[in-house]
Symmetry: C2
Subunit: 223 residues, 2 copies
Amino acid sequence: MDTLLAQPKQTFVNLPPEKRESIVRAAVSEFAEHGYQRASLNNIVKRLGISKGSLYQYFDNKEALFLHVFDHFTLQVKWYVKASVTGSGRDDFFGVARQVLLAGIAFIDSHPEYFQVYLKVLFERDVPRREELVARVRLFSLEYFGPLADRAMGQGLLRNDIPAHKVVFILDAMLDRFLQGYAQPYLDGGLALAGMSAGRLDDEIDSMVAVLRTGLQPSGTGE
Amino acid sequence: MDTLLAQPKQTFVNLPPEKRESIVRAAVSEFAEHGYQRASLNNIVKRLGISKGSLYQYFDNKEALFLHVFDHFTLQVKWYVKASVTGSGRDDFFGVARQVLLAGIAFIDSHPEYFQVYLKVLFERDVPRREELVARVRLFSLEYFGPLADRAMGQGLLRNDIPAHKVVFILDAMLDRFLQGYAQPYLDGGLALAGMSAGRLDDEIDSMVAVLRTGLQPSGTGE
DNA sequence: TCATAATGTGACCGCCTGGTCATATTATGG
DNA sequence: CCATAATATGACCAGGCGGTCACATTATGA
């Protein structure tokens, strides 16, 4: 699960870090804009001002470059989510959901193109090892919220007429859709999430979580 | 809003209906599999057993063919949704939501490739007139639920601490995500929606709507 | 200094793309 | 029957793709 998808060649590892980073950045940018299949290695080397031969000294082929980019993406996401939750109270199921949502927003703000790569993978058919890539991100979400939901259910903090896995589905759907809307303006259902001020965004998140609370907590529980 | 995006050439209109339909079907299939940019006209004519020159006698170019396909898609969707709601009680906001969800499922079942085309458009960047295309579908949803939500709010059937447009966002997000999960197995958050029996699917839909009800109705209202 | 290894280069390859057009085939109606 | 219009065809074009490779350049260390 935590193994890397692809290793670059030794030549790439030997590169000075700043050059490595600029190459990854250019690749992310190209994959974000065009998805996997339409992304052009010619474009990438042109942006970087290096020759195509060099790129092939760093990575075996287009697929290896792409998988390397995706490895970076998943590592970053997991780091963001884990960092956001430690410290805050882990007992409040919906509080954790709120934290994860905020972490997602923060990630998109600081790595907008990485998130675009992910969205492209979701809806492009012939991406190499696509199922595996998507599973890495989504299973992370399910594995993360699943146990939390089970525990909350055990403690009577969730409605018992809805199975825990369905609670996770609803939560996951809401969070994912919110982040998609934030990243892609025309997906936000008229909420104008994209480019919203941090304060107003917090309000949106709070009311979103409030609805989840009301809908998913046992009916007697106070707010 | 209801004007067509693109007209085929007269030669196409003159074709016998079954040939027209087979051409549209082949185009839908190709666009569904590869999205707009990677879809290949060569593939389409190969499948159909016609020459490329013929295709260009029917449509000005790739874009016109694609827009014609999308026109068909939007017309079908609107027809499905409208047909599903007439007859049932229009007063129950969440009942309507449930009907629309069922209509979406029915549409995907009978036109799976059309829905794939739509999903591809959502996440592909350089689709011609993409914003306009997406707006046609999403605005339909907003324009459809917006007034319903306003009315329900006026009748005190919705929580008054959440603005109506936010209610619409939540509803839209949930419906859309549910349909995406139904159409793309790896998006369903572990619910295994795809290929689910009709009965179990209805259960999933009912509990989804139940959560929405509980979360969005005024706190005193019964279920 | 110099042999060797590591790295950089871009012309080139076969393949596929959307699109064109001169030509062949078929339908039409006087 | 035949002239004309409508339609069908596929070889062809320029351009872009991922990938290769013989060669040029640079770094290394004895």
